[in-house]
Subunit: 490 residues, 3 copies
């Protein structure tokens, strides 16, 4: 006997009938709005090449660290799941890997992975039975057949998903070749890049040296001098804007910023590129570069995103065998109040600058992030991120930020995913949870129904479009128009 | 078209019909109880002079950092809002400032500011349309006219609000002139002061030197010797008790306390007043003074309040241009377990001493504060404070403290406000949220209905009256009656 | 007039009717399952001797620090409650102590203590009136009479409570005499021990020296050499397994672990036993011993439990007068991500090892513990502990861990109690709260009803039995079968 798979139309809406009725009405108005995905990690070659994906395992299982980290935590072997290691991809039969995944699908009960996957299975692939051992082959076969058809190629799905804007993320050392090919192809889908320079900023990253070499080649600058290094960043930021970017992104271990003099920067940078640095130097350099990037954003209008707080590659043996992004990044306690102050001393009162803060440490929502964003003109709060991109995580985000920062200092939803097929599912979860939260405020008479309806539109569309400058890209420099709030600058 | 403004009778009560019914019944019994406001920042000159307030902008907008911090965070200029800066008040038309506020009123959706303001608009001023651009002038005119009438003078509103007890806060260097005038006036309203000696304890405060000079003048003591300094505090505490004070208040950066010997205190104090101190000395002196204040509270019966954890004046440019209290104070992570131990070593087991702890760091509610208050006889928990004085903040406070500390180690509500007109609104929010919390416990059969009814009275009236000694002020020294719990002292 | 005492059949289930209906159905299937209590502090002599308990005060009040800490926090004298101090038990009339407790029973409103006690009063003793001053004597008399009957002796209650497995906790220096007598008695109740070696690991414990002496006597090893010390642990672990133990337990101040070389260990150990150690040495030694214990668990199959984060004996005066476990242990902020890494470097990828993590710092649930347990094969999450063993605490545990770690990286419920009579009450609370949580997921269509039914069984029975190896004890060494996950070891 197999179990039916059917997505309930009221899923994720609050159980109380009054509240659910309000939530349902709010959701109905935003359910079909186009998707704006301003931050993510899909592969731009998919849209440049528009080649068919191979099979369920390669598309849905092997690249998704949400899935294989859970399986690994319960003793499932990574080789048996076809997860690539440093030596290459194991010679695992994709179907066998899929069966193993199906055997353990119960592990995902209560997790967002199950919500996303069931949505993909039902909505994208039209499955009507639940995934379990008995249906593993039926899934593998159906998905494989569909993926081979033109209707399931990347661009066709992009259109079917009603994606209006999709940002990928590339390093400062990236040629942007895939994006150039998308632009040259005449295809109308709006896939843009995001400037993520961590690889040439984090001297503790194992690929810093070759990244710097490539950074020099692409810019023609003397990237080993402080002046040339900054000039190279400015050039590449312009390259990225030309490839559609409206934003930069910075994935640092901490939120530490610094405000050094030029002379201090030159001395520090000489130690960094000279190889004579300490871990404290590495941290100070990353800190200073956040302030430099903020200054450049004032000049060129790019939105700045800060994603701190992940202890990367916590599992030493797994990192040795399998490399990065294998589900072993663990959040840590993160300070923002002291850490951001040096940068805010420089740019905090710029009202045309937007710095979007993310966190993996929910204890800072109400204590630090909402008060900061509820005061500084340049600060906005990114949505619940990564481990917290989930119904309970999103609910806590709203409950702990709204009363101090309001809704208008937030920026809508980010899917932050490399799992392209899950993008509609993830946005749908966010819309449902936000409508549920708004509905509770209406049911408790803390918000009028028409206010909630306006807010549902804003949380789904307005805020993200404005925060990420989706409709007014920053490719024309706005530097001269920028100014500090008058009363402070005066 | 304008929108109606009407406060729903069930606002803030839980949506579930069973729970709402219980909450409604509980609330009905406490809704009209007199207000006891044991901690706040209203200006005693209002009640001494009983002069009319001028207009909506000067009364409601310009002094309220909850409001202008949000507007500032969205790029609104402070000058245009008539916010005073160090050079004086900008020559902004109050009506123009009010219109600007009205244009941005949607920013407050989902925040307690909107709840409080709508309550003030509807209940105090009788408005029946919502504030928005189109109604800004109607609001400004109506409020202005009413404020000019006798019925809206401070004492009339004090009576209309059914305030039974209102504590203001004055520094150790304050003459208490306004309070003396209130006492001499024959008016029956009970407005008392609170002893807040931060200005002569925090050497890092920019006005420490003149505050000490005034402290010396008012007491006639040699405040630059350790012995004379303590004697001056004792004298001023007596002055404050004579002006009705039942409590002291201490707004420190951290909760750190110390337990130095007299000889160590003398050496430290010599460095402080000699100008030869380090930041560590400044912190140690503040820490020691908390213990000294606790000792004096054992002797004179004044309730001690500790409000730690705000990083003051985080925005350097704004502090330079506008000074303190401009919405740029940001909470920080705060430790209590280690920090309070030195003071608790001295007074922790005193059962007639009351020390009320507040926090801006909600992560300590369940982890540190509830366990401490659920053990030490002298400790009580102040209500959700400042950024957390909000429906969700109050709910989290109850959910995270009750199971370990119970209800009886809490002290009712504090409005902590300088916005006098919002006092009824704030107390009403607290009563509604507490009744909603109690109702949930009844609906889940975790509390009997009669227990909840008793607790609603306690949370509204009983706990605050006893904790702050409202009905048994401390003006007669009780030192000799105080004792440690026998079994510990023995 | 007295008040009725009646446990409502729907207590602790969510108020929303739909959700309650689902919860009720889930609970009905698990309400009567046998109790598995894998971690607690009952006295094994009760089951060895099977003697009658004396009276309500000695059984229910004097040993329960949850109760007397609350009374003490409100100024009640410990002597008057018959709480033992270092000099002995005060000569307090047990009936007078009980009356004093009854006078203050309202303090427990909203706390789990009241839920547990009312369950004990109603279900175990058949009381039908609530405890208050007027009923104190009736309670004292009825309980005293029942305790004198055979039906209320420890073994009879063990059977009546349907306890399937009960673990006590003994130190490494314990003779296990009581457990040997249970085994020799022929009684069928399964009462086992747990290896808790803190007393011979924590050099800062005041009884370290005599504990080590006894450790040497019991093992015949040279426990003052590093090699002999480890051998002694191995011997005692075998002794404990022979007395039924399936687990070890470690109650450290922090979660710090270390990974020293043997040479470093020998040098450190020489300082420890030589008396020439610093607090940093003491911490490093505790840290290293967690890794050693984990290594031994790989070899002998014992489940390892880590309970860090309690600042013990915070009240110095009370510790001086009354000693340990008097309600003055306070949780502190606890780091796991950095602290556990050295141990995880050694054993983190062992898939046949189980290390169960507990915390008193809820801010780590979503940030650290769920991500760690959702990745490392050896890690599992213990349930909400101590101050968080409460309806709200359990709800937060599920809400903050499930989405990242799932249900299957948790281990069911621990009562962790020395209050034997409260064991059914505590398990009942956990079952109700878990069913309420599952019911909400079903009502919000985040889980199917049949999935929730399976999970209710798992949370009540399956997970705890497997995690603690209740049905496959570790007494036969499994060392040779253990292996690291292939792909990592390869």
């Amino acid at each position: 006997m197999t179990r039916a798979l059917a997505l309930h139309p009221d899923r994720l809406l609050p159980a109380d009938p009054t509240t659910r009725g309000i939530a349902r009405a709010l959701y109905a108005e935003v359910a079909d709005l186009p998707i704006v995905s301003p931050h993510g990690h899909t592969d731009p070659r998919w849209f440049a090449d528009n080649a068919a994906w191979s099979d369920a395992t390669q598309l849905l299982l092997a690249p998704d660290h949400y899935i294989f980290r859970m399986l690994y935590s319960q003793g499932v072997d990574l080789d048996a799941l076809a997860i690539p290691h440093r030596g290459g991809t194991p010679a695992t039969d994709p179907r066998a890997a899929w069966r193993l995944f199906a055997d353990h699908y119960h592990l995902f009960r209560g997790t967002p992975s199950q919500l996303w996957l069931d949505h993909v299975f039902a909505e994208v692939f039209g499955m009507d039975v639940a995934l379990e051992s008995a249906t593993a082959d039926r899934y593998f076969d159906t998905i494989g057949e569909k993926l081979a058809s033109d209707a399931f190629r990347p661009r066709a799905l992009f259109d079917r998903f009603r994606i209006d804007f999709l940002a990928t993320t590339e390093g400062a050392q990236d040629s942007l070749d895939a994006h150039h090919r998308i632009q040259a192809s005449g295809w109308q889908g709006r896939v843009v890049t995001t400037y993520r320079p961590d690889g040439v900023i984090d001297i503790e990253h194992e690929a810093f040296v070759p990244a710097m070499r490539r950074f020099a080649e692409l810019t023609g600058e003397d990237v080993y001098s402080w002046r040339g290094y900054l000039a190279a960043h400015a050039k590449r930021r312009a390259d990225f804007r030309a490839a559609g970017a409206t934003a930069t992104d910075h994935g640092h271990l901490t939120a530490q910023t610094a405000n050094l003099s030029t002379a201090e920067c030159e001395v520090l940078f000489a130690r960094i590129v000279g190889g004579d640095w300490t871990p404290a130097d590495a941290e100070l350099f990353r800190a200073q570069m956040l302030t430099e990037m903020a200054r450049m954003s004032v000049a060129d209008g790019m939105v700045m995103q800060l994603h701190p707080g992940a202890y990367r590659n916590h599992n030493a043996a797994l990192f040795a065998s399998h490399g990065r992004d294998k589900g072993a990044d663990i959040p840590t306690r993160t300070d923002y109040v002291h850490a951001l102050r040096p940068m805010l001393d420089v740019v905090g009162n710029e009202r045309d600058l937007t710095i979007i803060l993310f966190t993996l440490d929910e204890s800072v929502y109400a204590r630090e992030l909402a008060p900061l964003a509820g005061h500084y003109p340049c600060l906005r709060l990114g949505p619940a991120w990564w481990f917290h991109d989930s119904p309970e995580g999103m609910r806590r985000f709203r409950e702990m930020t709204t009363e101090t920062a309001g809704f208008y200092n937030t920026v809508g939803f980010n899917d932050d995913t490399r799992a392209f097929l899950s993008i509609p599912a993830r946005h749908d979860v966010a819309r449902r949870v936000d409508c549920g939260f708004l509905a509770r405020l209406v049911a408790e008479h803390r918000l009028q129904d028409w206010e909630a309806a306006e807010l549902a539109q804003e949380l789904t569309s307005g805020l993200v479009r404005r925060a990420y400058r989706v409709d007014a890209p920053s490719s024309s420099p706005m530097g001269s128009d920028f100014k500090m709030c008058d009363s402070v600058a005066a």
